[in-house]
Symmetry: C2
Subunit: 282 residues, 2 copies
């Protein structure tokens, strides 16, 4: 179950960091251990295949109630996988032996809504009032769609999915309010039903699409100009399918300008111990 | 859409409270209006058929974060339908025109874990710090099981379902900790699969069973002695099927002895505007 150091080394060989790259067959705890010790600071796409990866939002306890309520009220963009006890870096459900201060390859630290640092560990920032929120991410259902033979054009092109701010308001909670952000994937018309039923099985990672086929009705004027990520190419029979997006809680939280907020850096996710298949609701 | 006052009355007729009994075909807002004005103080089983009824827990803001987190960590016994803003009696999602202070036929008021009052409105107790939690209840999935031809023996006998404290601990959150409480229904062996797949469609009202067939494994020594409700009769081919129960959050909350806690009186539920079928996850 390890891809670490395939070469035979003698004790006098220098340790090369590249050798220690985790891979698809690494276990989640192997990935986290390499990350924790600074041996892997890159993106996590494709690592520890079969296990859910999570978006991370860390907030001080003073605003954590409002954020937790925001997630309860907006479960499609904000599917909570785990919430830590105040001050504890341990996600007891998602990965009991993990440490949220060290086990993400790179973090973004925001003060009053401004990015101020991009560290690889949080020792300089963590306090006894910090609460970590782990949210399901769309990598997980994309994996299931691809296995069902539904092409993900952005994966094939190695670019980002297209994301759009919509005219649909989230249900506000305390200091947190803002629009729903959606991700859009072009899906062949003959596979849209399959894409709905497969992603519906995974409510913990955004679930079924929120909208299919009419971008105007979401207030999206031009599909070729996404607010985040890359414009997608459409095949002749492709229909735009929109899922609630994990950028929503980050965008909403930043808009509220909390004194301190920490997230994963884009693409540098937290790798959980949760098998993707265990998240299937039916 | 109304069953109110089928008789023709002149202005001199006395208004009889019994005439104003809501029924299966009443709308949720008709039921709540009768309740609000003191014309109905009874149980809500069978009223406003097709709409979800909810368990109610009201707590002061000081302990609301811990309770919200407890619900997030234990979604099967604590499926949140709605949470109000502190001080607001309006459940904006579940029933925007309702008032949680008046629209439940009877309340239970607890101080430091002791029942101190059973009023029909909360004007004497409501403060600006109160937070209302509405939780899905099993009436809803029972309705679907019955429609699928699965007999609910306690409904046929007009008794309560059997409920048991288990040896399974809930995931604790702050001041809230305690065992999972389950409800048990005897289901014919040939219909157990159907009972699983039908209830799985409704995660917002406890979802699929947590356990099927071996009470000992839940720490239940004697099925004939439930901790709440009534012992159930078993047919020859019946298997005991256990669902997470809404008594769990109430029992756990009372155990924590908050200074003030208000719930619905047993059977006197809050009738929401949410069509049961809209809660289906697939």
């Amino acid at each position: 179950m390890t891809t670490i150091s395939p070469l035979t080394r003698t004790s006098s060989d220098p340790v090369l960091i590249d050798e220690r790259r985790p891979g698809a067959s690494s276990s989640p705890s192997e990935v986290r251990s390499l990350v924790r010790h600074g041996h892997w600071t890159g993106v996590t796409a494709g690592l520890a295949e079969g296990f859910a990866q999570a978006n991370l939002v860390i907030l001080p306890r003073e605003v954590a109630y409002d954020f937790l309520l925001f997630c309860q009220r907006n479960p499609k963009p904000c599917p909570l996988l785990d919430v830590t006890d105040p001050g504890s870096p341990r996600p007891a459900f998602a990965a009991p032996d993990a440490d949220l201060r060290t086990d993400v390859p790179r973090y973004h630290v925001y003060r009053d809504g401004q990015l101020v640092d991009t560290p690889i560990d949080l020792s300089a920032y963590w306090t006894d009032s910090m609460v970590g929120f782990l949210l399901g991410c769309s990598f997980t259902f994309e994996h299931e769609l691809i296995r069902a033979g539904i092409r993900m054009r952005h994966v094939e092109r190695c670019c980002n999915v297209a994301m759009y701010r919509t005219s649909v308001a989230c249900r506000p909670a305390g200091i947190f309010a803002g629009p729903l952000v959606v991700s859009m994937r072009p899906i062949p018309a003959s596979r849209v039903s399959d894409a709905v039923s497969i992603s519906a099985r995974f409510p913990a990672v955004h679930g079924a699409p929120v909208h299919i086929g009419r971008p105007q009705a979401l207030g999206i004027k031009d599909l070729s100009r996404p607010d985040w990520g890359d414009a997608q190419e459409f095949g002749e029979d492709d229909v735009p399918v929109f899922w609630a997006c994990g950028v929503t809680p980050q965008a909403v939280a930043l808009e509220a300008k909390p004194p301190l907020m920490i997230t994963h850096a884009p693409g540098h996710m937290f790798v959980t111990d949760i098998p993707i298949r265990s998240l299937a609701s039916f």
